[in-house]
Structure formats: structure tokens, C-alpha cells
């Protein structure tokens, strides 16, 4: 009896060390935690978590500049409108691999799915921080159906897609937990889940743009277009490809221990391939945007101050990254392609912030002084980004994402 308990304790101890402490003992693991990055992260959290608490004690008024004219600020501009296109990685990589048969990209598929899942999860976290009564988040599913609302569609799709992505990623979790039988079930639904992912992503990526269709009087005509759902969808596809380059670059650089030779060995070649895809995606998007200006005959507006800012976005943050990427692909230089990918991701953020913050309410007096967020709002965003990275790293270190699990090689 006593022996039994002892073995059980010992089993748990080794499970705990293996799964959670990366095979180290407590003292060893905690020593390893003291890194410059972790210290910086703890500093940010120690300031940021109290600021987030302030939002729930004194309301949004205490931590943001949100007002009756400016209901949405940086929390949603960054977290929802910026975060969701960069999280299209899951659907883009899964579609490329499972449906279109780009089999060579296998080492990056799980990374794409995890990036997507985490991105959506955190988009919801940003939303919960921002909305007035977050515990009512399920209301569009049960209490009232605003079927004429684009946001109703976004709510349903983000919730469903979060579930779909969890299922898509679940084989990695189950391999980590060594649950062979459940894993087999989880892999059987892959194709169905991938197609569900395409449907849901097509719709809610575009829906985030369509949200602004209701505000033709408020969004600047250069950004407002009946094509805005198409702009959002099309840019999310290249955003995803660029984001996979960004995340894999960071992982290869900072989490080398979590990778395997297959991942590291194929990464350069795959980066060039993804860069090529990003290029095509940006040129398609750029063409669509030009069609948008032509469709509404907005050429004359390009000479106005907002038009100049629009040109900065279109030339400096869309076309220029595309040219950098084209050059990198031609030269087969992973360094240039990676730089181009970071640049393209930045361009996406610039676009989404422009739509949701800079060009929104452009005709109100003193508009530009309203769009600068207070430090508290910036700290909230930084805090959530930090938590995002910490959880992401925790998973990458433990689960077979950047490497294949030895027991399941060649089994996808």
C-alpha cells in the first residue's frame, strides 16, 4: 500500500518534470527562468496588471480616452482589427497543406495553426477587456439574435472558429499528453475542420471590414469602400503568410531547443516560398485597392492631407514591402525576405489602425488630437502582448509544434 503511493507520487513527479518543467528539477527550472526577457516581462506585468484591474474598478474612462464620439480605441484597433488578420495563419497554412497539397510546408503547418488559435484567443481577451459587461459575451448566442448585424456574424464566427482551431491544434496537445487513441479521432476530422476554417475565415475576416460599411459618414472615403470586406479578406491572406515567416524566424532564433533538424533544415527554403506567396498576395491586394479608388472615383482626394497619408500607407506600407519581398525572392535571400515579411506585417497594422482609428471620425474637429491613446491604454496592450508571448512560448517549448514527436513521425 505504502509502496503503491510511493510509486504513484514518483510517477506524478516524473510526469510533472517531463511535461511542465521541460525535464528539469524545480531548482534547475527556476534558475533557467531568470533571463533578461523574463525580467522585462515581469516588469511589464507588474505595471500592466494593476492598470487592467483599474479598468474593472473605475471603468474604461480611467484607462482610455474612449468617448461618446470615439467608442473604439487602441485596445480594439490593435487587438481585434490588427490581431485577427495576423491570425489568419491557421486557415492559410492548413488550406495550403491539406487542401492544395503544398506538402513541403508540413514543418510550418502546426506553427501556423497555433499562431492562429492564440491570435483569436487573444482577440477575444482584448474584446473582454474593452466591452462593458464581458460576462455577457455569450449573449449573441442565447439572449438576442441581431441577425441584421455584421457584429453578430463576427461574434458567432470567432466563437466557432476558436473551437475549430482548438480541434485543429488538438493533435499536438494529445501527442504531448501521449493520448494515442483520442489523437487518432482528432486527426480524422482534419479535412472537415480545414474546410470549416476556410468558410469561417472568409466570412469573418471580411466581416471585420464590413463592420465599417455602416458608417459611410464617419470613415474617410479613401478607406471607406463597398469593397472593404474584400480588402480585409485579401490582405489577411498575405498577412498570414508574412506572419508565418515572422513567427518562424523568431522561433528559430530564440527557441532553437524546441525545434528539430527537419524544421531548421527546411526553414530557409520554405521562407523563400512563403515570401513568394506573400508577394503575390500583396500585389493582388494593391490592385484591389486601386480598383477601389477608381470605382468610387476618389482620385481627387489623393491630393488632400488624408490622401497623402493614404498614399504613405499604400506606397510605403503595401507596395514597398512587396518590392522588398520581390527582390528577396529573386536574390533567394532569406534575410531580405524576412525583413520584407516583418515590414508587410507592420503594413497590415498600419492599415487596420488607419481604418479603425486614424480615418474614422476624420471630419470631427480636433480629430487628430483624439487619436493619441493615453499611456494606460498602451500599457494594457503591452501587457496583453506580453502574456500572449509567454503562453505562446510555454506551448512551443512543450508541445510538438516546431518539431515532430518521435512517436508520430510521418503520420500526418
Amino acid at each position: 500500500m505504502g509502496n503503491d503511493t510511493l510509486t504513484r507520487t514518483e510517477n506524478f513527479r516524473s510526469w510533472f518534470m517531463d511535461k511542465l518543467l521541460l525535464g528539469m528539477s524545480w531548482p534547475e527550472y527556476s534558475r533557467n527562468l531568470i533571463t533578461p526577457f523574463n525580467i522585462a516581462a515581469m516588469l511589464i506585468l507588474s505595471i500592466g496588471i494593476p492598470v487592467i484591474a483599474l479598468r474593472f474598478i473605475h471603468g474604461l474612462a480611467a484607462v482610455t480616452h474612449a468617448s461618446d464620439e470615439y467608442p473604439w480605441g487602441l485596445i480594439l484597433g490593435w487587438g481585434l482589427f490588427g490581431g485577427v488578420p495576423l491570425s489568419a495563419t491557421g486557415f492559410v497554412m492548413a488550406t495550403a497543406y491539406y487542401i492544395f497539397g503544398f506538402k513541403r510546408y508540413k514543418p510550418l503547418v502546426r506553427l501556423g495553426v497555433l499562431t492562429g488559435f492564440m491570435g483569436y484567443f487573444f482577440a477575444v481577451v482584448y474584446l473582454l477587456t474593452d466591452i462593458g459587461r464581458p460576462w455577457r459575451i455569450y449573449y449573441p448566442m442565447i439572449v438576442g439574435f441581431g441577425t441584421a448585424s455584421v457584429l453578430f456574424l463576427v461574434a458567432w464566427h470567432v466563437a466557432t472558429y476558436l473551437t475549430v482551431q482548438f480541434l485543429e491544434f488538438s493533435p499536438a496537445i494529445l501527442e504531448w499528453l501521449k493520448s494515442r487513441r483520442v489523437r487518432k479521432w482528432a486527426t480524422m476530422i482534419t479535412i472537415a475542420m480545414t474546410i470549416a476554417g476556410i468558410i469561417l475565415s472568409t466570412l469573418h475576416q471580411s466581416a471585420l471590414g464590413a463592420l465599417f460599411l455602416l458608417a459611410p459618414g464617419k470613415l474617410h472615403p479613401l478607406w471607406y469602400s463597398s469593397y472593404i470586406p474584400v480588402f480585409f479578406l485579401s490582405s489577411s491572406i498575405y498577412a498570414a503568410l508574412a506572419m508565418v515567416i515572422v513567427v518562424s524566424t523568431l522561433a528559430a532564433r530564440f527557441l532553437r531547443k524546441a525545434t528539430d533538424d527537419t524544421f531548421l533544415g527546411s526553414l530557409d527554403k520554405l521562407t523563400i516560398g512563403l515570401g513568394k506567396g506573400t508577394c503575390v498576395g500583396i500585389y493582388v491586394y494593391f490592385a484591389l485597392k486601386v480598383i477601389g479608388i477608381a470605382h468610387d472615383n476618389n482620385w481627387a482626394l489623393l491630393g488632400t492631407p488624408y490622401g497623402e497619408w493614404f498614399l504613405v500607407e499604400m506606397l510605403g506600407f503595401v507596395l514597398l514591402p512587396a518590392l522588398v519581398l520581390t527582390y528577396g525572392v529573386k536574390k533567394e535571400s532569406t534575410g531580405i525576405v524576412r525583413f520584407g515579411a516583418f515590414y508587410a506585417v507592420l503594413g497590415i497594422l498600419v492599415n487596420r489602425i488607419n481604418v479603425s482609428i486614424v480615418a474614422f471620425n476624420w471630419n470631427l474637429p480636433h480629430h487628430l488630437s483624439h487619436i493619441v491613446p493615453p499611456w494606460q491604454e498602451v500599457v494594457i496592450v503591452l501587457t496583453l502582448v506580453t502574456i500572449h508571448i509567454l503562453i505562446f512560448r510555454w506551448i512551443l517549448n512543450r508541445m510538438p509544434v516546431l518539431r515532430e514527436h518521435p512517436d508520430y513521425k510521418e503520420s500526418h
Partner: protein, 324 residues
Amino acid sequence: MDKILKNSLGDEGTTEEPQNEKDNTRKISRRRFLGTVAAIGGISLIGSYKDASAYKEFTGWPNRYGCLTDLTECVGCRSCEEACNEANNLPKPDVPFDDKSVFNEKRRPTVQAYTVVNRYENPKDAGKPIYRKIQCNHCNEPACASACPIHAYTKTPEGAVLYDPEKCFGCRYCMIACPFYVPAYDYASPLEPKIVKCVLCYGRIKNGDMPACAEACPVGAITFGKRSDLIKLAREKIMKNPDRYIDHIYGEHEVGGTSWMYISGVPFEQLDFPANLPKKPLIEQTKGFLSAVPVVFTVWPALFGMIYAALRHREELEKEKNQK
């Protein structure tokens, strides 16, 4: 129609005969049921087909009420603000209602006030400033209501647009959507924030009274009545005094029309009325997108499933080739 009626009569006829046989009653009652259904269905089809239209349009509740503000009459006494405050049990303001210093800046409706009056210079007569009252315009097809994912807004047949805080989760998309910047939000409330806006004194108009502000106005600048009558009145006023008014009823067509309308002596954009709004209800802007949603749901699985199948097919062919 005759045929259908006959059929159902015929069925009724047969029910009389074999009433004793248990087995048959079931059959017959089903037949009778089907006959009735066919008859009802047929009649309803025939009854409505003549006015069936391929173009469906909601032009608003027929007998809805509204208000007409005559901006040339308003003297800026703020009686409407005070009456509104009392009628709706709103918190007392820091600056009393007879204090004219509030006009030094442009105000907007807030969580404390459903309505505010602002002062503008009069380009025609500098000694007689123009006052503009702001409150919810109670659109015929409100953008706030079409924005709400939880259906917390209702456009009542009486014309008022009402909001239910019990449903709201505070996403504030209604504020983004409102073309008139009307809904206010309680940002200082950490746990129970809600939207605040004019309710067209819904309780009062249900009882046959007029909104408090309209009743309180000492110069009759606000007329309450059926929206259709108000448009006639506004047209008449403009026609009789073409020098006093510009030829524009603001709210007659803006974003599909509003229950609250305005006539003015100077162009409305000089008084900060949004001048860049479409004549169609704003929901029309999203209809095209939303109608594509079911198409994606039905076509995408087939399309991408086919692509998947095609690639698998090619893989198999290649495998066969390699085996040979």
C-alpha cells in the same frame, strides 16, 4: 381557388361516411388535414400574389410619430433641456438650466442629458443667433438597431427607438454606426455601463401626451405629430416663407428618413448637421455583404472539397504510374 376549395370540401364529405371504422378515421383525418392545409396554402397564395413584389422595401411603420424642430423659431431658452431632465428622471446638471454660459462651447448628448441645445452665429442676422437642439432622431431604419448583435434596440410602431440595457454587453458598435453621434455611454461605470439616449418620451406618447421637450417649448419651435403630417406642415411652411427657410427638410430623406426632422434658415452643414449621409437607410450598405454569407456556407465546402478531391485523384494516378 375554386378547385382547391372543392377539394377540401370533398375531403370533408368523405369524413362523414366511414366514421365507425377506427382504422379509417386516422387516414381520413390525415386526408382532411392535408386538404385543409392545401386550401389555406392555396388561398393565402392566391390572396397575396397580386401585390407580390420582387423588390422588397420597408418604408417605415405607417402611423409613426415624430417631431419637427423649426430652427428659425428656437430662442435658446433651454426649457426643453430642463423638461427632458425632469420627465426622464436624469441627474441634475452642475450648471443650472437658465445659465447661458453653456453656449460658449459645443455640447452633445451625454449620459446625463438626452438633449442639448447649441448656439451658432447667424450669417443673415448677427444679432439673432441660431440655436440647434440635438437628440436622437429616431430613424425609420435605425443604424444602431441594425448594428446591435444582441437586438437590444427596437424601433417601435409609434416611432421611438428604444434600447434595452438588460441585453446590452457594451460593445458600442451602435455608437460607431449612429450617423448623428447620438448614443452616449457610461464609461465611468466599471461593471454596469449602458447606452443612454432620448426615448422620444415613449411612455408619454403611449398615454397620448407629447414629448416633454415639445410641450415645454414656449415658442412652439417643436411640433409633435404623425410624421406624415409633419412633412406636410414643413413643406407648407417652406412654401409660404421661401425667404425664411432653405428648401430642405433635414430628416425627410437622410439615412432613409428620421422621425425627428428639422427646417432651417441656413444650410444644415453650417449647424454641424452631417451633410455627407446617403439617402438610403444605412442597413442597405451591409445587405449585400450579409446576403453573401449563406452562399459562402453552401458553395465553399463543395468548391474546396472538389479541389481536395482533384489533388487526391492526381496523387493516386501518380502512385499507379509509379507502380507500373
